[in-house]
């Protein structure tokens, strides 16, 4: 009609789900469950040069009760497995799990009496970041992939209590 609402271009129409997923993906609170050498690369990604806070995934909350993403960084042994499972169970939904590095994804080069061959034997995993250790760019790629997963599938990743989407994990392999 020729009349324009004030601030008309400042409104965005969308579904509530998409808004919530957008908010979730850009405010990931992480629990870095760091056990081994991959922790060095995790620290490198958190530091200023590669800077994961650009993606909203900055703050490590060192409590599973306060975090969304469980970063399993490094080798997990059979002795550590009950601890990992307990930490995972203490996290509130929605939660996602990133297997960081070769040892967390598949046991790595360890095939021995104690290394768990991949933490997906213990808890469900959403994103696998391969590498020994992965390049920080690969880690950032994993964060972006997780964000895409959150945007598309919503808060129910591999571990949702009300799964509405399919349950296939995304595999990100960089050799």
């Amino acid at each position: 009609m020729g009349m324009k609402f004030p601030f008309a271009d400042a409104y965005v129409t969308t579904k509530l789900d998409q808004v919530l997923n957008w908010a979730r993906k850009f405010s990931l609170f992480q629990y870095p469950f760091v056990t081994a050498c991959c922790g060095m690369e995790y620290m490198a990604v958190s530091a200023s040069h590669y800077d994961q806070s650009r993606f909203g995934a900055e703050i490590p909350r060192f409590s599973p009760r306060q975090s969304d993403v469980l970063w399993v960084v490094g080798t997990v042994n059979q002795k550590m497995a009950p601890v990992l499972k307990r930490v995972y169970e203490q996290m509130a939904d929605p939660k996602w799990v990133i297997a960081f590095g070769a040892c967390a994804s598949s046991g790595g080069f360890y095939q021995n009496y104690t290394a768990v061959p991949g933490i997906d034997r213990i808890i469900p995993v959403d994103i696998y970041i391969a590498g020994c250790p992965p390049r920080p760019e690969a880690v950032l790629d994993g964060i972006i992939e997780l964000q895409r997963l959150i945007q598309e599938r919503g808060p129910h990743g591999m571990s949702g209590i009300n799964p509405r989407q399919t349950k296939e994990p995304l595999v990100l392999s960089r050799d």
Partner: protein, 212 residues
């Protein structure tokens, strides 16, 4: 040969055999131990100035006490204590000690062969307190007991772990999980490197693709 003609009076064991060269002088620490303990030193070798001696298991505590207290040796640090399993060979195990001196610039490796039937050596914990945890780890991984150690319980392995994992006859792929492992479709066939787990609640591993 030229040596035969230079020494015509030397007895020859075989025709055309050269005279044997003189045995090389053993390096200083080895010589010292041989003077002190004689036939308790079973063997030795040296490389780049670092020496290795093998000593008999009986009376090894005296040898180590000498190595620590004698001012020519003065080994005040025990750097490492571990064992090696040479399974088809007898004696089966060899406990290896690495010693270092801070005052005299030398290191020494001491090896003690141990049979499989009674895998037991003396503990050197009173000499070097650092041996405390090393002996606990060696015991849990190889099953070698250390006589005189007050607290030989496992250090790294968890309750309920059966067996001595670093022995050569421990199955390499055996997992002893504490939590039941989830069933996962593997894309890679690990073969004998990862055997199906023995936990009663864990279903078997299924392969997504049957071709390896």
């Amino acid at each position: 040969m030229s040596e035969d003609s230079a020494k015509p009076s030397a007895p020859e064991t075989a025709p055309d055999a050269p005279a044997a060269p003189p045995a090389p002088e053993p390096p200083p620490l080895t010589r010292l131990l041989q003077e002190q303990f004689g036939e308790r030193v079973l063997g030795h070798h040296a490389q780049h100035g670092d020496e290795t001696v093998s000593i008999r298991r009986e009376g090894m505590r005296d040898v180590f006490a000498f190595l620590k207290r004698d001012p020519r040796c003065a080994f005040d640090l025990m750097i490492d204590l571990t064992a090696v399993d040479y399974l088809p060979r007898t004696p089966r195990f060899e406990v290896v000690y690495h010693l270092k001196s801070l005052t005299v610039p030398h290191r020494l490796r001491v090896k003690v062969p141990v049979e499989a039937q009674a895998p037991e050596v003396d503990s050197i914990r009173e000499l070097w307190i650092a041996a405390d945890w090393y002996e606990r780890e060696c015991h849990e991984m190889y099953g070698i007991s250390f006589k005189g150690h007050p607290n030989l319980k496992p250090l790294l392995l968890y309750d309920g772990f059966e067996g001595h994992p670093l022995r050569k006859d421990y199955p390499k792929g055996r997992q002893q999980p504490l939590v039941p492992m989830r069933p996962v479709k593997e894309r890679y066939d690990y073969g004998e490197r990862f055997q199906p787990v023995e936990h009663p609640h864990t279903p078997a591993v299924t392969l997504e693709r049957q071709e390896s």
